[in-house]
């Protein structure tokens, strides 16, 4: 048994879970959602196991390192964070309807990591710049934040769709989808959670940069885009806290925020050049 096989199984589990949650939503049948939850739990378990296994496999090519060092590994970890945070939300707020919006993200990320020709999934030893304990702190904090923002984006989409549905007078008051106010509240909660982790991610990155390059901030495109993301979410939170923005506006901002996260993550690697090019292949 090797890690890539297990990652493949977890991807299949997420795809099936997405199908179940979507079926639950369309047919208004809670038992599909229960199947979705079971599949997600199974997927997360295999996914975690695969991550540990890959960690062990890195010892065969070098001195061993946490599997968080290139685009493939970060994508896979991004999916894990998203799925894990989703399970926590489902458990905490008992809203299974969210799965139909969030699990497809995890499934999509895993599929992209596995099948895209630009993504190299081979295990390579660590170049000197990456040999630091800050690597783990930086990548883990960032991707917990990204996972939360992915969920906030999905919730934003869910809010806008549901709102449009109710405006068009559709009588699909779906018991599985939370009320607009609960979605709004949940968007806010995931945003503040993500913001705290994004801040920690930027800070650990700055400390690491100072340890490795002698400067904690050099306005490198990756750094700049991360602070742009931070400004944007700071703006969103202030608009909500002090100007009373909620509902549709915050839902849109959570979508725009997630688009910025995606550009910080992929766009910078693919379109802009800079110091932070480890994640590019």
């Amino acid at each position: 048994m090797d890690s890539s096989l297990l990652f493949g199984f977890s991807m299949i589990a997420y795809i099936l879970a997405s199908a179940m949650y979507l079926a639950g939503l369309l047919f208004k049948a809670p038992r599909f959602n229960l199947a979705g939850t079971c599949l997600t739990i199974g997927g997360v378990a295999m996914h975690s196991l695969a991550t540990l296994l890959r960690w062990q496999e890195t010892h065969q090519v070098g001195s061993g390192h946490a599997p968080l060092t290139n685009m493939y590994e970060s994508l896979v970890f991004f999916a894990l964070c998203t799925a894990l945070l989703y399970l926590f939300l489902e458990y905490r707020y008992k809203m299974r309807g969210l799965g139909a919006f969030i699990l497809p993200i995890a499934a999509l990320i895993m599929a992209y990591a596995s099948f895209s020709p630009r993504i190299d999934d081979s295990i390579k030893p660590l170049i000197p710049a990456l040999q630091s304990n800050w690597l783990i702190a930086h990548v883990v904090t960032c991707f917990i934040g990204y996972g939360a923002f992915a969920i906030a984006g999905a919730l934003g989409l869910m809010y806008l769709l549901k709102k449009r549905g109710t405006q068009q007078g559709e009588q699909r008051e779906n018991g599985l989808l939370p009320s607009l106010t609960s979605i709004d509240e949940l968007i806010y909660k995931t945003l503040i959670f993500g913001f705290l982790w994004l801040s920690a991610g930027i800070i650990t990155g700055a400390i690491w940069a100072n340890e490795a390059w002698g400067t904690y901030w050099s306005w490198d495109p990756k750094e700049t885009w991360s602070i742009i993301t931070w400004f944007l979410y700071a703006l969103t939170l202030h608009a909500r806290f002090t100007r009373g923005w909620s509902g549709t506006r915050i839902a849109w901002l959570s979508l725009v925020g997630f688009a910025t996260v995606l550009f910080t993550y992929f766009g910078v690697n693919f379109f802009l050049s800079g110091l932070h090019s480890y994640g590019a292949s």
Partner: protein
Amino acid sequence: MTTKQKNSLIDFLASVQLALFLLFLLSTTAIIGTLIPQHAQPVLYSQQYGPAAARFIQLLDIDDMYNSWWFLSLLTLFAINLIVCSADRLPRVIRLLKRDNLATTREQLERFSLQRAIDSPLPCDEQLGQLRSIFKEHGWKAQERHTESGAVLLFAQKTPWSRFGVYLVHASILIILVGAVVGSPAFARKVLKNSDFAYKGFVMLPERAFTDHVIAIRQNQPINLGFMLRCDQFHIEFYDNGMPKTYRSQVTVLEQGQEVLRTEIEVNKPLRYKGVTFYQSSYQPYQNYEIQLKKQPDGVTSTQIIPPAQETLWEAGGISYGIINRERQGEITRRVKLWLHDGEGEASQLWVEMGKEVVIERPSGQYLLNIKQMYATGLQAAKDPGVWLVYLGCLLMLVGLFAAFFLSHRKLFAHVQEKGPGCRLLFAGTANKNKVQFGHVFTRMADKLEQR
């Protein structure tokens, strides 16, 4: 300025609208510098964007936009906004926290959204005892006061300081900005007129060479270190697949000719000495080689630095040697083919890896040989006296964000008054955030009170 104008200016600077506008402006303008190359030659801009656009780029310092007057002005305005806004709102929070909660009346408590009135058959004293123990069980430290009407008010609160969380975040941003200014080479050069105070420099130091200065990046001015740094050796190690594994410089610090510190610098393991930090940043391979030889059993030794394809005579060892072939990866030599002859029989020819000792058996004796390519190590040197302020700011920001988002100022009140043989109890609570969650806590405690 009249007072009215002054007030409206302060209101503007304290306003959240300004904060939102600045956040929007900072995030959108910051994009420019990620699209247009920074610090490139002026020629490049006119080639890439045409002369008119290039003039515009020069005019607005877009080639160095994060240090341009307009971007720094935006950041300054942002800092002023943070200060004025916090100074404007902080007194209100302090007043709120200083309020005498034990002076709250029953009528006021009756207007709380979380409240439960309970008629208890227990005498007041016993009821109070129960209240105290329930407060204690749930981790609430209660204060008490007897009111004039003979009633007793119990009050307890949790994390009142969390109301400062958001101001802690604001302060942390200011601390980070101050730290960035203090550590900025431009500030040291232009304002303090002392470029030794903070700088970013670079030195390319050949093995065995000393330096007492580094070259400031971009200004190309020498900056004195105040001590000497010597590179003893530079090593590169590779993984089996050819990827670089380690870049390591062995260095010695000298003060007035005396060795004071011998250490190694690697990527991610800088050397800190007297406020200067040295980072492994690059290297330069030279096309010559240090050859160490030792002849056994005589014990004579020799160390020579030689170029390839040159015969060298070592008289004391009684041999001639030279490098006749090399296996290279770019400028880095992985191994060399060595020719060695002591005048008896056939000459030895063998491939030798860099840094690996080999033994050559010759009729005249045994030769221990070690070959190493010569390098210069590229070290970055930084002096940043503001970095600790930046780190402090970062820490405070995380604490502040946590307090602002996840802690709430929660208050519980219990008003107890005699009523016949029993007593009348009003239990009330309030929280400034996470109200739903606090509502559950309140209900649980109220249920407990009612059941007893």
